[in-house]
């Protein structure tokens, strides 16, 4: 009987109820959406690099090293001698070491000089290896492999020829136009900075800089392909290296060993820890988003409470009727609370369904275009916790109209009927 009264009461105010329901649904959708995407983004971000145990570069801060090696932001302070790289790579605790050489770009996208090991050992996400959408790793001197974004934004296909630029500017005036590179591979999207990079061999990197001194092209010295093949193109220096260890137990020992390297001052970082630190710097942004969505939800629950409160004026008579036929004031109290709760629960369910459906629709697009995988499972225990808080909030704000109704049923008794 109680629920029948609640149900018909809601039906009799269906437009106001519907508006409140929509408002609760939207605000819950926003809150859940922000929470879910935040959660997924964090998970995805912290997996920008995986499978790499240490990243080493010239002595610098942990974040700076992470930024220029992984995120292609900022600049290296110094280089590492090739001899140091060989020395470190030869350590028996080291399973593999990938050299990285930075400093050139192509139309704003950074070029990484590395070895084929990069494609073999680099991991992102849940231990995912880099995959080729088309083509293969670089083999020849002037082969280039490009990230998914680079291919998409610049419209490159296999066998296109591109000119690299010296330095990192969007429009560079010093081009390595002696030798064009040929696109031999295009990577699958990863949702990481890999998508926005171009990869060439260390030898290729060395070759285009042969006739350069201090960042300026020397006039009159053009290298032909034949001349290059006769030269020793072993690099003199690189920018950084990624290291994989045979046993994770030795991570801190090797890190200390690199930090104390006698040949030159170096810094080694654990990418996972550096990523977590970087994410924390974005915490302000994260909290702002969260705060906004919480406020949106609060105002919508307040609107629900206001709707019920203003309905009390027309309810005075029915409350008097219920009291006259023997309803306890708590019956009236719980009717109002049940209405608030029912609207909120329905709104939450609608929001969850809407969120799952929209993620399912967006998932394919996001994965294909941005390499970001958002799980459609939104009801993690954390989310259930959030939903519990929303319900508790609805009950709290429902107290305002429910207590008014309670007091009304105590004081405006039979007289209210006339």
């Amino acid at each position: 009987m109680f629920f029948k009264v609640v149900w018909h009461s809601l039906l009799s105010r269906k437009y106001a109820v519907l508006l409140s329901l929509i408002s609760v649904t939207i605000s819950t959708f926003v809150l859940l959406g922000v929470e879910h995407i935040r959660h997924e983004a964090k998970a995805s971000f912290s997996k920008t690099v995986s499978g790499v145990d240490l990243i080493a570069g010239a002595r610098t801060g942990q974040l700076n090293l992470l930024l220029y090696t992984v995120f292609h932001m900022g600049n290296a302070t110094n280089n590492i001698a090739w001899a140091s790289f060989l020395d470190l790579a030869a350590d028996p605790k080291v399973a593999w070491a990938i050299p990285i050489s930075l400093g050139d770009s192509h139309r704003g996208y950074r070029v990484t000089g590395t070895t084929q090991d990069y494609f073999k050992h680099f991991r992102f996400g849940q231990d995912a290896a880099l995959q080729f959408r088309a083509g293969r790793p670089f083999e020849q001197l002037f082969d280039v492999v490009i990230g998914a974004d680079v291919a998409a934004k610049l419209g490159y296909r296999l066998n296109d020829e591109i000119i690299l630029a010296h330095g990192l500017g969007q429009t560079s005036f010093s081009l390595h136009d002696d030798n064009a590179f040929r696109v031999v591979g295009i990577l699958q999207p990863t949702g990481t900075p890999v998508d926005q990079a171009l990869y060439i061999s260390l030898q290729g990197m060395e070759a285009i800089h042969l006739n350069w001194r201090d960042g300026v092209k020397l006039p009159g010295r053009r290298m032909t392909a034949q001349m290059l093949e006769e030269l020793d193109l072993t690099p003199k220096s690189i920018t950084a290296l990624m290291v994989g260890l045979k046993s994770k137990v030795t991570i801190f020992a090797v890190q200390r060993q690199i930090n104390n390297y006698s040949g030159e001052p170096l810094t080694a970082i654990l990418p996972g820890i550096a990523l977590a630190e970087l994410w924390q710097m974005m915490g302000v942004m994260e909290n702002t988003l969260r705060l906004i969505s919480v406020l949106v939800l609060f105002s919508s629950l307040l609107g629900l409470s206001t709707m019920l409160l203003s309905s009390l004026r027309e309810r005075r008579r029915e409350i008097a009727v219920m009291r006259a036929i023997g309803a306890h004031p708590f019956f009236v109290f719980w009717i109002i609370q049940a209405e608030a709760l029912l609207i909120t629960v329905t709104g939450i369910m609608a929001a969850v369904v809407a969120l799952v459906v929209s993620i399912l629709f967006a998932q394919k697009y996001l994965t294909e275009n941005y390499g970001v995988f958002i799980d459609s499972f939104v009801l993690s225990s954390e989310m259930v916790h959030v939903l519990g808080i929303i319900l508790a909030g609805a009950l709290m704000l429902g107290l305002i109209p429910a207590l008014s109704a309670y007091r009304m049923s105590l004081h405006h008794s039979l007289a209210a009927g006339s």
């Binding site: 009987m1 029948k4 009264v5 018909h8 009461s9 039906l11 009799s12 008579r317 029915e318 008097a320 009727v321 219920m322 009291r323 006259a324 036929i325 023997g326 309803a327 306890h328 004031p329 008794s413 039979l414 007289a415 009927g417 006339s418």
Partner: protein
């Protein structure tokens, strides 16, 4: 079994608050079971307060108010609500029904509060409808869709569904025109005789006094 439906002794009531706006004092008043009382009183004389006290919605500040031998002051708020649901039927001037519920659900709600078994309810409602000259097809209609006259009669059916010993009716005819009023009064009195209910009828319409055995003026029994 007590013979009195209502027995009041040294009843005093004032609304809580620092400056009491209104007080009601009744030294003694009795209503014999089965009597039909016409309770007169100018507006503001305390009729509503008395009805609220009789039905146990308000509690006396001090004094005794016994309904069917039960001292209401001895009951908890919840017990008073239950007592009212089971033993007292109430009909207002108007707006007697929960507008968004069907006629049947309105009656069922009263039965629910009166702890009345739902089995056999249909039969009781049907019988009441026949006596009250209400069409059976109204039963499924939403209460808000009924005419005022129909609503008043449904209200009587609702008030009688738990077979209460006492029926309190507060200006039930003021929203009805003369023809309807006479028809309504006839039905009300008939049904009271059938159920042997004690009727307390509150009105300031002197034209209705001829329907009643006992006429009580509130200003005569109360002190202000």
């Amino acid at each position: 079994m007590p013979l009195d439906a209502v027995k009041i002794k040294d009843l005093h009531f004032s609304y809580p608050g620092k400056t009491p706006t209104y007080q009601l004092t009744i030294p003694e008043w009795r209503v014999v079971k089965g009597d039909r009382i016409f309770l007169k009183g100018a507006s503001g004389s305390g009729k509503s307060t008395l009805l609220n006290l009789l039905s146990g919605i308000l509690v006396a500040t001090h004094g005794v108010i016994e309904i069917l031998g039960q001292d209401l002051c001895m009951l908890s708020a919840r017990q008073r609500d239950r007592f009212r649901a089971a033993h007292i039927g109430i009909v207002f001037q108007q707006f007697n029904l929960v507008p968004y519920l069907s006629v049947y659900d309105n009656i069922r709600l009263a039965a629910y509060f009166g702890r009345k078994k739902q089995t056999g309810l249909d039969l009781i409602v049907k019988r009441l409808f026949t006596v009250l000259d209400l069409d059976d097809t109204l039963i499924a209609r939403q209460a808000a869709g009924l005419s005022v006259g129909q609503q008043q009669r449904v209200a009587i059916a609702r008030a009688l569904v738990n077979a209460p010993e006492i029926l309190i009716v507060d200006e039930p005819t003021s929203a009805l025109d003369n023809d309807l009023r006479d028809a309504f009064m006839k039905i009300l009195l008939d049904i009271c005789s059938i159920h042997q209910s004690t009727l307390i009828f509150v009105s300031h319409d002197a034209a209705l006094t001829h329907y009643f055995h006992t006429i009580v003026n509130l200003s005569e029994i109360s002190q202000t």
